[in-house]
């Protein structure tokens, strides 16, 4: 039995560009099959196996569905429509892991030198300096700010090593966005996100998302860069144990570098968003 708190949230179920007419595309959400198709009038419908339509929001290139009664509107991402940004569709990657673990990995900085060696990090520059984490009650989101990290190749457009500034944001239970130093524009942030579709508690489809200031790099190179980064994470994610994300301390010992993860777990627990999480203390 899935709790109303889980059912009443928004989840990505596909890319708008890839939805076709009936019979459309069969996929899954929270362990149940759903089908996505366009009507003759061009509307996008997401419906359950019994033919019941789900609440739908179209935003940021993706189809978002709520299997229950939406507790609130989908999170805002103003940068998605900001003039001058390039929206990069990086496709979808399936990962055999808890959807919550996929989000948590995205929030982690400490693994950069070891998993994304010579790209997002490099030894001996492994220290994660103190940064700030808060749960912003007014928007009900987790934010990490004042993150600084040395990166050999922070973006496709970066010419050499730079200290990158980051902000991280958990915008929905299975969607996170980061803001990082834009190598081309000192007054703007590059925006990168992952939208995670929870197929089951241990299987998800991950849609990387990018809204960048970069008019020069060919689109395919931007996609390759982001897929390279995410696929370096995939083999790690598929081997994490326990499979479900523990929300209570005991099984895993966080360090200071894990403040964002600690806040994310606390936020999930407080809101009863336990799909993909261990529901009892280990």
């Amino acid at each position: 039995m899935i709790s109303p708190q889980v059912l009443n949230e928004w989840y990505p179920v596909g890319m708008i560009a890839q939805v076709g007419p009936w019979p459309g595309r069969l996929t899954g959400l929270l362990g149940a099959p759903v089908v996505i198709f366009t009507t003759g009038q061009g509307a996008i419908v997401v419906q359950s196996a019994r033919g019941v339509p789900l609440a739908v929001t179209l935003a940021y290139g993706h189809v978002w569905a709520c299997p229950g009664t939406p507790a609130h509107a989908l999170f805002a991402l103003p940068e998605a429509t900001q003039p001058g940004r390039r929206l990069v569709d990086c496709g979808v990657v399936r990962v055999k892991c808890s959807p919550l673990r996929a989000v948590e990995n995205f929030l982690d900085i400490a693994h950069f030198p070891f998993v994304h060696t010579d790209i997002l990090g490099a030894e001996p520059h492994t220290e994660v300096n103190r940064y700030e984490v808060q749960i912003r009650e007014e928007v009900d989101e987790v934010w990490a700010t004042k993150v600084h990290f040395y990166q050999p190749q922070a973006a496709k457009s970066a010419a050499g090593g730079i200290v990158t500034d980051y902000m991280y944001r958990v915008a929905a239970p299975t969607a996170a966005v980061l803001y990082k130093t834009c190598p081309n524009r000192t007054d703007e942030w590059d925006v990168i996100g992952i939208f995670v579709q929870p197929l089951t508690e241990e299987l998800c489809d991950v849609y990387p998302y990018m809204a960048l200031f970069d008019d020069v790099t060919p689109l395919a190179e931007l996609i390759h860069f982001q897929q390279m980064i995410f696929l370096q994470d995939r083999s790690i994610l598929e081997n994490q144990i326990p499979r479900l994300l523990p929300l209570d301390p005991g099984m895993e010992i966080p360090t200071q570098a894990d403040l964002t993860s600690v806040a994310y777990r606390r936020w999930l627990k407080r809101r009863g968003l336990t799909y993909g999480a261990q529901r009892v203390a280990a």
């Binding site: 890839q18 897929q227 995939r234």
Partner: protein, 218 residues
């Protein structure tokens, strides 16, 4: 020399890897294989009617089979990598080049299914993958008993490079390698080669870094 490339492709990585080991510089052209399916476009099919990756272009020469690219690179920059010292060894290397296509059709397909939503009969793809792994494991075990580590002869050849990527990436397709100890050691030997390069899913040998200091009670 231009390689039309996809960063997650095992076949593209074969060519990048051998070029790196040989010190040959490739100019990489990124092709939007996923999600754009640019390799199936009219423009790309003008270059390669098969609509497959990788494609290697050197002057007037256009190669569309990765094993042919390995032969070309080795013949040009490192003939020892051909492993062909007599009729028998030449034929055996050819065997593994052809065998690598079976790996791609089984383990490679399972990986594309599990990772990028490709349509496949996943159970039969994995079963065919295990069959291939059993064959090559048996061969490598025999080689180890004879004091060798690579597929043919006493040194790495294009046979190893052709087979390595889809085997190393097998876990991406839900095929675990725990039952194949000789394959694990063979992979380690390849990853230890000077100028080895990694790809997503194939990590560099962090374990070759200096061992941590031991405590006095150890």
């Amino acid at each position: 020399m231009i390689l039309h490339d996809y960063v997650l492709s095992a076949s593209c990585y074969k060519v990048r890897l051998l070029a790196a080991l040989l010190g040959v510089r490739l100019e990489l052209v990124a092709v939007d294989f996923h999600p754009g399916r640019a390799h199936k476009s009219v423009v790309f099919r003008a270059l390669n009617p098969a609509g497959s990756l990788p494609v290697l272009v050197d002057g007037d020469l256009v190669l569309t089979e990765s094993t042919a690219m390995l032969v070309y690179l080795a013949q040009m920059a490192g003939p020892d990598w051909l492993g062909a010292t007599d009729a028998t060894s030449a034929a055996r290397v050819q065997h593994w080049l052809a065998f690598s296509a079976r790996l791609n059709g089984s383990l490679g397909l399972a990986r594309l299914h599990d990772m990028l939503h490709f349509a496949a009969d996943i159970d039969s793809a994995r079963a065919a993958g295990h069959q291939c792994l059993r064959e090559i494991e048996a061969h490598l075990s025999e080689a180890r008993f004879a004091g060798r580590i690579f597929l043919e002869g006493d040194r790495p050849t294009i046979a190893d490079i052709a087979c390595f990527p889809n085997i190393a990436l097998a876990p991406d397709g839900g095929v675990e390698l725990n039952d194949y100890p000789s394959l694990r050691l063979w992979q380690r030997a390849i990853r230890s080669l000077p100028r080895f390069i990694e790809m997503p899913g194939i990590h560099r040998l962090h374990e070759l870094a200096p061992a941590p200091e031991r405590g006095t009670t150890a």
